[in-house]
């Protein structure tokens, strides 16, 4: 069991990093689109975006009951990552203060995520605006997160000193897989499975929304003669069209279609 859990932990981390990286790389490699920016797009907007990114200000402003659950749910995720990072640091440096901070972050993360997960599950189930657009996979994700955060909470209450966590992390880094308590083992198992599940959801939106704002919504870079965009566009206009509308020449390039 200890070896399985150790390998699963390593694998799940690599898996999520690898798949997220693929998704981001794919996004970045997409062809440069025609300009489709939305205004305003100055410095003030970027500050607003930062606020949105950190505290979901747009949701708070426009849909408070949704924000009430959505925000804690996300705080739960961020807190969980931070908690694992702190466990790792605690294992390396072993300071009492660090242990306390780690425990605090952990408990906030578990409680917050649990509250958000349950709240969103109910909200999506009951809210007439949301229900028709909520699929089985949405509910599955909420249940999965409820399980994840509650297992974390359980593991914490079974072992408030977090000694097991730290030992697990410390040994994991040395490929020395150590046996942990059943409660912790269960949480670590769920956590690893969750990491592997995440790339199959739209969770990467936490990163792609930055790309979306910078590469689409705020992208008003004008075309300069002889510049990078002009060269890219020249290449893109050479792509072939397979649209079969009667006013188009199927099989010829965009350039041949538009310069006629």
């Amino acid at each position: 069991m200890a070896i399985f859990l150790g390998f699963l932990s390593w694998f799940s981390y690599f898996f999520i990093i690898f798949l997220y990286a693929l998704k981001i790389a794919r996004y970045l490699r997409m062809p440069v689109n025609l300009r489709w920016e939305l205004y305003p797009l100055g410095f003030k907007e970027k500050l607003k975006f930062l606020g949105e990114y950190l505290i979901f200000s747009e949701y708070f402003k426009r849909k408070k009951t949704y924000w009430l659950f959505l925000y804690p749910w996300h705080v739960g995720f961020v807190g969980l990552i931070l908690f694992h990072l702190l466990c790792f640091l605690s294992a390396l440096f072993g300071r009492e203060a660090l242990f306390r901070i780690t425990a605090l972050v952990g408990i906030i993360s578990f409680l917050s995520g649990l509250f958000g997960g349950i709240g969103l599950f109910i909200k999506r189930l009951k809210d007439q605006d949301l229900r028709p657009y909520t699929s089985f996979t949405h509910f599955f994700t909420y249940v999965f997160t409820i399980l994840l955060f509650s297992s974390g909470l359980l593991a914490y209450f079974l072992e408030p000193s977090l000694e097991g966590y730290r030992r697990f992390w410390e040994r994991l880094l040395r490929f020395d897989f150590v046996k942990v308590s059943d409660g912790l083992a269960f949480h670590l198992l769920i956590f690893s499975l969750f990491l592997m599940y995440l790339p199959f959801t739209s969770s990467v939106h936490y990163l792609t929304k930055i790309l979306g704002f910078f590469l689409i919504r705020w992208d008003n870079k004008p075309m300069r003669k002889g510049g990078r965009i002009e060269k890219l566009m020249e290449r893109q206009l050479q792509r072939k069209i397979s649209w079969s509308g009667p006013h188009l020449q199927q099989g010829s390039s965009w350039k041949e279609n538009v310069f006629f």
């Binding site: 997409m30 939305l38 949301l130 965009i229 069209i241 188009l248």
Partner: protein, 549 residues
Amino acid sequence: MEWASPPTGIKLEGERLFLMKIEDFFKEDPLLCSIKKEELLELPFPFEDPKEIPGIRSLEEGKWREFEVSLDGVMAIGISKPKTEKEKREFINRFLSGLRKLLSEDDNWTFFRPLFHSLEYCQRCQLCSEACPIYLASGRKEIYRPTFRGEILRRIIEKYLKGKGFFSKFKPNDFELTFSAVARLGELSYRCTLCRKCAQVCPLGVDNALIAREIRKLFSQELGIAPKELHELGTMKHLKIGSPTGITPQALKDLVRFIEEDIEERTGERVKIPMDKEGAEVLFLHNTGEFLSFPENLEAFAIIFHRSRIDWTLSSELMGYDAVNYGLWYDDVQLMRIALKQVEIAKTLKVKRIVLGECGHAHKALLGVADRILLKELNIPRESALILIEKILREGKIRLDPRRNDFPVTLHDPCGIVRQMGIVEVPRRILRRICPNFREMNPCGVENYCCGGGSGFAVIRSANFPDWRNLIAGRMKLKQIVEVFQDVISPDINKYVCAPCSNCKAQIRDLFSFYKVWEKCRIFYGGLAELVVNAMADLKRPFIEWEWR
């Protein structure tokens, strides 16, 4: 009273159905949405009684039989019903083939990334619904929700294109793609004005208006289906004879002479409108529909340019005199063809820059969207006429007396100019300078509401679509206008809605006629240039004539 319901001769085979679940969209036959006037967004005085407002005319029996109108009983495109099962299957297959192309980088590099982003990362939180004027004005009808089209498209993609993966079993797939569903989706793409207010409020950068546009594109570029006013009588006519209005180069010259005479009659001043002047500083590219429907706008620009000694010209070359680009609303290839022809004319004329008249979508098309296809020598400087007017006023080239505009004025922000081009403060600075009684609508600027005629709606005249446009799409704008003038709503006081966009003006004209706004409230509409000329200190008589037309 219900409207847009089938005539008594038409029996719907299935039970009449009002949409309850997303899957209902895929069912054959039932009418998905029928709305009572009483359910629509309430309007302020003097339009609060729904009984006094006209409804949407029911389509004739022949149209119900011939076309697929089961979305809401309204027809913008008019997709003919196939006669046989085989034809239905072929239609569905061609739609799916188009959908594959929409999701291909080669066929859709133009908007692939924004479309992918919007399809992939929308969380269906419905934050955007509260921003959509059509959804709100309709009394929150599900089919008009900004996320609805995307959700339908996503489910089709999951089931028919992505197919058989492990996770597909858990995705909603309890439906079969029917002809009705595909045709409804096409119609539904013309229930969004592409104003992009939904995109503005999305914290994830999702653009549901773009999804509507991309569905339109699929229908046009693959199936050859688009409203005839946009395609056959729009871009095709534009490319062939020079303008969707039907104005030929010769007709333009005659029209310009008439406009010159009209200027002389109004002002006593002989103002020459230069035509095809090689090497001019400015090629003035305006919406030709304006010359016919609102000639006073071109007259006002001619007077401003004449008095401020701008070296300008119009072009009478084919494609050189109409700034419109309907391709922006439904077809990338047509968009590019028109934009390229327009700048080629400017290049041939050797002008220094193109100045775009008061036309919102022309701003967006030529200043923004088409920018990246204007390669090398076609990359000619382009700017908005609003910027030029402000510059002229700032330089003091025209003597103004704001007291001449001493009536309540509000500004309608055209989406193509504010939210999509970022020109927000310029018209405001001008108005504050020339209109002492200027007042803002709420919300305004980049958060404005669309006039309801955006994305071609103002020119689509098919069947009962204009009724739907006036009753639903323009309702929020009407509410805003009436509210902003509520303290002076009496018909004894002249009021002016400044709408610096041809399309918006056409919509406001229709909207006001539909609700009898002129008769009940004496609210007039017009451009910005007219207000500037009206404020000219030495004009013998007011330039704005308070006559409804």
